[in-house]
């Protein structure tokens, strides 16, 4: 335990804030992170921001996540001239 995900603060209303997770918008509590500001990245757990993520280090975390997102959303469609099939037939993954 425990499941927590990074989210970006897009507005702040006293003890609550609206955060964005790649197009999903959620209203959460920021009582545990009173210094959270619009534009900050926070770590979200069970409806609460539990930490402001360090902007420099957030780049590190987010670079990770953006790589995954870019990979899944904007990667070129598989080529139809059958390398897709050879990829499926080819690599066997890492071995210890």
């Amino acid at each position: 335990m425990c499941l927590a995900v990074p989210a970006r603060v897009i507005s702040r209303e006293g003890d609550t804030a609206t955060v964005d997770l790649h197009g999903n918008r959620l209203n959460i509590s920021v009582v545990l992170t009173p210094d959270a500001q619009v534009g900050d990245h926070v770590l979200l757990h069970a409806g609460f921001a539990i930490q402001r993520l360090d902007p420099r280090a957030a780049e590190q975390t987010f670079a990770l996540l953006e790589e995954i997102d870019n990979a899944s959303s904007s990667k070129p469609r598989q080529s139809e001239s059958f390398p897709g099939a050879s990829a499926a037939l080819g690599s066997e993954g890492g071995a210890p």
Binding site: M1, V31, Q51, A57
Partner: protein
Amino acid sequence: MNHRRIDLAQALEQLRQAAAALPAQLPTAVFMEVCGTHTMAAFRCGLHSLMPHNVSLLSGPGCPVCVTAQGDIDLLIELAADRPVTLCTYGDMMRVPGHHGSLEKVRGQGADVRIVYSATDAVRFATDHPDKQIVFAAIGFETTAPATAAAVKSAADLNLKNFSVLSLHKRVMPALTALLSGGSVKINGLMLPGHVAVITGWQHFAPLVDRFKIPCVVSGFEPVHMAASLATLAEMTLEQRADLVNLYPEAVTAEGNLVAQRLIDHVFQPCVVRWRGLCDIPDSGLELRPAFQSFDAMRRYALVRPADDENHACICGKVITGSAQPADCKLFANGCTPVHPLGPCMVSSEGTCAAWFKHRRNK
């Protein structure tokens, strides 16, 4: 403190090199993670299949579902089934088996059990339904306790009369200390729960190194975090060096989230609690302070904790302390399966037995 950009391939290579250099006197380096989310994340990305043969990663008592004593689960079920309340709970607890059935089953029989994403949802439900009595099942470690504390404080500020909490919160450090003092678990290093450390700070875990001379790494939950943590643990084992390293600096600081710590302290006080498999550990639980006792469901409903009555063949307790593997249990895949679990280790999708059943049984 390491603050370098972590690269997965480099981390795996470092792990392999360290493992290859481990001395012949140490046939297997055994590390333990104490966080159900780590267990889940490791299996999801197939980390175990990439680990060197002489490095093993055990799952310790870090899954709050697994370590909840059966008597406590029975309390929740009794509340939902026998009392005129709406029980609000996180999804994690729905399928945990008590002595008779589970929350899922009593919901099926007509009990008012609702899954919430946040403790504030439970408070809101109480505000919106003054005619109903709401009980919130508060589980989790230090990561989740601040949310419950905030909910109780907000209920107090609103002077809510129809809201109470059954606190099953636990603290990780006392359990780790009990585990390592017990001597029955021989491990070479600990992968510490990154999100607990977000709240407590990494300094909070320093006594583990000082007292037990064991390498510790505070780890995040991405594959690259876990691989880098294993590599660092392996290197420290190789160098026979016991240190505490924070490999989650983007979220974890030395002193942690002080606002959250103060809020926990304002609402809760430590108490003795039964950990499944580890018995009673002093100061390892959190109970509501006297100032907030009107929100304590135990008092409000005069609950008496039933005796535990666990299936004697179930060795969940040994599994979560790393003294046994799922395959050692007579019931594993033999009456105890994820579809029909007997013990919490099989119920929780993060539990060691469930994870083994799904991912490692065929190997």
